[in-house]
Amino acid sequence: MNLFQNLGLGFSILADPMVIVYSLVGVVSGVIIGALPGLGPSVGIAVLLPLCYGLSPACALCMLCGIYYGAMYGGSITAILINTPGDSAAIMTTLDGYPLARKGKAGKALGMACLASVIGGTISVVLFMTLAPVISNFATSFGPSEYFALMILGLTSVAGMTGKSPAKGFLAAFLGLFVAGIGIDLVFGTPKFVFGNVNLYSGIDFVPVAMGLFGIAEIICNFEDNNIQVDKDSLKLKKLLPNKEEWKRTIPHIGRGTILGFIVGMLPGAGATIASFLSYDMAKRTSKNKEEFGQGAVEGVAAPECANNAASMGAMVPMLTLGVPGSGATAIMMGALMMLGISPGPSFFIKNAEVAWGLVASMYLGNVLLVLLGLGALRMFVKILNVKTTTMNALIFAFILIGAYALENSMFTVGVTLFFGILGYFLKKLKVPAAPMVLALVLGAITETNLRQALIIDNNNFFKVLTHPISAVILVIAILLAFGTPIKNLFAKLKKNKAKAE
């Protein structure tokens, strides 16, 4: 009962038309910023933060959240249409979204991405609302050893992205792990592979790498390869919505992806990118249409998209209830809240009940706006494809370079982006998939840090690190996922031999 009272309180805040206006402003700008390569939710929030000065906390919060989930969806638009993820959480969307677009089903892919985002978002708002005040402590039950196990689980999903040649997939993954090793060692302060270059001291961030490997490499390849055609008929609203059969195929994946995304999002430091990686991998493993993945499976678009939106919602749980931001975007948002005189923390839902429940209500509103905008404005987005390839390439190239500079205000990141762009081109020519490299780069650094912290905490007893209850369970799952098929084959063989012997 209390829940509905609180929710009523939240929705009463929405009665103020200005709140709705600001929420709309947030979602629209979020989608646009998210669609620009390299600019993700954190940049969007940081850029529009100055607009929040002087707003009421409810308006400001609704706008910021609008940007957040707007950007999560926006990232998928360019991922699907031009194979350039707008932000890192949309990398997985390119794997099946772009092939779908090439088959002339761009509208279908965008529609699916939008609906999956909204469904993922809506389910996780319900989860957030019912669970946030209760499960805030879940996030803290993960210590270094648990994170280490989770990252190992994440690394097993490389297997799902290798395409035809596992060897090439693993080659890419090891390249990614190598790049993750660059920088000053956290524990001893020893420089690793920095060759005296101070710009490398803090390591190489995965955002410029992803922009290079996906964005720039794609542009270079586009010169040789022609554009996608969009069938006008496919952009009618009816065609955008998935048909019965597609719903049947995707709904279970959306459900699982959402819950997985929400849980991963709640863990500080894991975030939407890892959630989308894991969700895609899970969808691929559990799907009946395994062979379609990578060739344009609708599940392959739905799974990562629902997961990244769910994760962005999940990341709000530790931010609001513990004051521990789980991602760059939530960190900036927390700064904004403190600017407005609200300190997130253990007493947030009690002390600032009105703001807290207003936020929940605005999330519902934001999802409605997202579906209206997503489906209504799709025809506009697809117009991007009408621009001549050469013009488009030049524009995207400019966006990527500006985005790369804006990341750290430094020409060095621009150089990193270009370097990985050229590397990405050669990898493409050699048919080495780029996704495992980015995955390994994202996970590698976190894996190393957490393993070393865990070892220090457990007095360098490796066995003890592996046998924390949560870590042990996760590691067993990881082993089963990685070696499940060979183990199954082994048992089948043993059985057969036994039968033979008898």
């Binding site: 940081a46 000053i184 001291y201 430091g269 513990l322 521990v324 300190s343 804006a406 912290q453």
Partner: protein
């Protein structure tokens, strides 16, 4: 027609992009306003120079760059931007002061950028934090934190911190911790950000002072460290008030001792470590530096400018809100003090094991 719409759309994207690029740094408006302001100020300056030729000394005649060697949104960034805001609000300086973020290498990238201007350059300032001292001493920066590589302009604030402990323990003060640690060597873990940081220095100093064996666990992010202490994976940490005052007030983290010159206004009942008999008073110093060889009259000008900033009510509110301790020093005092700070860091960092 369709092509036109498409072009318009892309143009819109370009425009929004341009807006994205300029807003956070706020450099564009400043740059365009610059000539106007300098001109107008140039006149007043000429007048004032005519009136008090000798007393006025050096005055800037073009925009000043304020290098922030850290990312946007961090403590250093917020502080510098606040100062710039105050300078603009009270028109304390005849030219624009433009903040520039250059992050990377724990500040080294920013100081490299500063040092790309030649020695004696009068229009670039940079803010300092602990890494200004720790990076060179640990051999990760080519610059010495002394007058051979920098001129010292002004010291602004110190950052007091609080030693906190996970709720799974019922330690009440440092004596409890020391007693337990003596009985169980190596068991208690102290989490901190970075490997040769203020957090590490505090723990190794306590180890040396009390003859105990706490283990240091480095984190690369304050948020993750806070989560680890809340979850009981880490037993102890030192944290600034700005970072975890909510947890200290709510009792989700227990407070053990304040690391400050005086008791903290927010926790008047929490004794400082020195009061508890442990000489632990190491705090982060935040100040401003320039290239070496800058003339005294220039240093005196900037030093005076920032003194005016720190005397405003806005600054006092800011310092209080961010739980810092006001500690203004002019250029001469800061130059002498920096030498002491460097010596302190050298002693402290010698306690941090290398491998």
């Amino acid at each position: 027609m369709k092509k036109l719409i498409a072009l318009l759309l892309t143009a819109l994207m370009v425009l929004s992009m341009a807006a994205c690029g300029s807003e956070p740094a706020k450099t564009t408006p400043a740059a365009t306003d610059a000539p106007k302001t300098t001109e107008a100020q140039g006149q007043t300056q000429a007048q004032s120079e005519a009136q008090t030729t000798e007393a006025a000394g050096w005055v800037p005649t073009k925009d000043v760059e304020f290098v922030i060697p850290f990312g946007a949104g961090g403590g250093n960034d917020i502080m510098v931007r606040k100062m710039v805001e105050i300078i603009e609000k009270y028109k304390l300086c005849p030219v624009n002061v433009v903040p520039v973020n250059k992050k990377g290498g724990s500040g080294v990238v920013g100081y490299t950028y500063l040092k790309d201007y030649k020695a004696g350059y009068e229009y670039a300032l940079a803010s300092t934090s602990a890494s200004f001292f720790t990076q060179p001493i640990t051999g990760n920066s080519p610059f010495n934190p002394d007058t051979s590589d920098f001129s010292f302009v002004a010291h602004l604030v110190k950052d007091p911190s609080v030693i906190c402990c996970s709720k799974k323990w019922d330690f009440k003060n440092l004596d409890d911790i020391v007693k337990y640690a003596k009985e169980h060597p190596g068991e208690l873990k102290w989490g901190g950000v970075g490997n040769a940081s203020d957090d590490a220095i505090l723990m190794y100093t306590l180890n040396t002072l009390a003859g105990i064996d706490l283990t240091y666990v480095p984190y690369d992010d304050q948020g993750l460290l806070t989560a680890a202490v809340l979850g009981g994976h880490i037993d102890l940490c030192s944290s600034s008030l700005a970072e975890s005052i909510e947890h200290m007030k709510n009792g989700t983290m227990s407070t053990i001792a304040a690391i400050a010159d005086n008791r903290l206004a927010d926790f008047p009942d929490l004794p400082t470590a020195v009061e508890q008999g442990y000489k632990l008073d190491h705090q982060q110093n935040r100040g401003i530096v320039m290239n070496p060889g800058v003339k005294d009259e220039v240093l005196a000008y900037y030093s005076g400018l920032f003194q005016k900033v720190t005397e405003t009510e806005d600054w006092k509110v800011f310092v209080k809100e961010n739980a810092m301790a006001d500690a203004f020093m002019g250029y001469q005092e800061w130059t002498a003090y920096a030498a002491d700070v460097k010596a302190d860091y050298t002693t402290y960092l010698a306690m941090v094991p290398k491998d």
